[in-house]
């Protein structure tokens, strides 16, 4: 069951980030924000490891 939640989280975060990226204004900051977004996605993909480590 927890795997289903994990997959859902990944799906939602990628979908919302893709939508947000479209709304970003054209500026030099845009690339940095995109980079931070991809770090967030990586963190969500890695999130099950956190649960394993805490046990």
């Amino acid at each position: 069951m927890s795997i289903t939640i994990w997959i859902k989280e990944i799906f939602m975060i990628i979908l919302s980030i893709t939508f947000l990226e479209i709304l970003l204004p054209e500026s030099t900051l845009r690339n940095y924000v995109k980079f931070i977004f991809s770090i967030v996605i990586m963190a969500v993909i890695l999130s099950p490891i956190e649960g394993v480590l805490h046990k």
């Binding site: 795997i3 997959i7 990944i10 799906f11 990628i14 979908l15 893709t18 939508f19 990226e21 479209i22 709304l23 991809s38 996605i41 993909i45």
Partner: protein, 360 residues
């Protein structure tokens, strides 16, 4: 001889159970499995007829094929229409004030493509799950009958060892496929579709890795289980053959006058039981083959149509969409491969039980 065989057949086989199984299967296969009932196979075996020589069966198969082709073409048309709109929006973006609006419109179109694809994938997935369930149900009903016949034929060691082994293998395999392998393929499909919405590749490799893991996992389990069952079958067959031959020889040699008649009667009885076992086994194999026919046909048809759609939309839509649609075709082929592997394993189980009985 024929009467003896028929009478024994009616005594040995639990008619009600096999009838309920046939009805359930015919509901699922749209009536194709009705062409292979136990009685018909028995009659064909007695008269020496060809069981596949049936014009109605070929006609219904043809109908099924064209029905699936038609429904798959509808999906292709939907996807093609939306992709043409996406292409149009891309070219129109110059005339909008800001680029964002056309981007968002494209995003919405992409989500609708993904939605259509996901709905059809869900249908196929549930079809596969149902086919898996019915196949293991078929095995759970037929194997006790087959093994009962096996024990009646004097193959006591094989019967007592194979029965729990095969039944537990079937149940375990069904659970592994249902709860681990098929959901994994489903997740792979989700990631593949998600990847064609995003501008950058976020989960492309994950989708591919999960899909391959599911396929290799199935291959590994099938190899392991079929290996265990066939090796066990070979060993128990040898020990049973020893017991059987000793018993027959001692009746023949040590009981005066009637001994040789008794031994021949035993031989006749064993041949009849062997034929019944072959008929039941054949019924099981044909049932499993008809059960996977509809899911495999439908899934492969949709997969081929997706691949063809990917070729068609490549000039119009972006590269990402074409790749995503093509990848979904690959995921569907993986689903078919898993279903095919499992039917192969089940057929192998039945044939290994059929083989133990000896000369038939």
């Amino acid at each position: 001889m024929k009467e003896i065989l028929k009478e024994q057949f009616n005594h040995v086989i639990d008619q009600e159970q096999t009838k309920s199984l046939s009805e359930y299967a015919s509901e699922l296969t749209g009536g194709i499995s009705e062409y292979f009932t136990l009685e018909e196979i028995l009659n064909a075996a007695l008269e020496g007829n060809n069981i596949f020589e049936n014009k109605a069966m070929i006609a219904s198969l043809k109908d099924l094929f064209f029905y699936e082709l038609e429904s798959a073409l509808c999906i292709a048309a939907e996807i093609l229409a939306i992709c043409i709109i996406i292409g149009l929006l891309k070219n129109l973006s110059g005339s909008f004030e800001t680029k964002g609006i056309s981007n968002i419109a494209g995003f919405v179109c992409m989500i609708s493509v993904v939605g259509i694809t996901m709905i059809h994938f869900n249908d196929v997935y549930h079809l596969t799950l149902n086919a898996m369930k019915t196949m293991s149900y078929t095995m759970e009903i037929l194997l006790p009958i087959l093994i009962g016949i096996l024990i009646a034929m004097g193959q006591v060691t094989s019967g007592t060892i194979m029965s729990p082994l095969i039944l537990s293998a079937v149940t375990a395999f069904h659970h592994i496929i249902k709860n681990i392998i098929l959901p994994t393929v489903f997740f792979s499909a989700i990631f593949t579709l998600l990847n064609c919405i995003t501008e950058k590749d976020y989960v492309n490799h994950m989708a591919k890795m999960i899909r391959k893991a599911a396929l290799y996992g199935t291959g590994l389990i099938v190899t392991l289980m079929s290996g265990i069952i066939s090796i066990q079958g070979l060993i128990t067959k040898t020990s049973d053959g020893l017991i059987m031959n000793t018993a027959k020889y001692s009746i023949d040699a040590f009981i005066p006058i009637v001994g040789s008649f008794t031994a021949e009667t035993i031989d006749l009885f064993l041949t009849c039981m062997g034929s019944i076992k072959s008929i039941v086994g054949l019924f099981g194999i044909l049932l499993i083959m008809t059960l996977i026919m509809i899911p495999v046909l439908k899934t492969l048809m949709i997969a081929v149509i997706y691949k063809a759609t990917a070729c068609l939309i490549e000039p119009v839509a972006s590269k990402k969409v074409a790749e995503g649609i093509s990848d979904i075709g690959t995921v569907l082929i993986t689903l078919t491969a898993i279903l095919f592997f499992s039917s192969l394993l089940f057929i192998l189980f039945i044939t290994s039980v059929m083989k133990i009985g000896g000369n038939l």
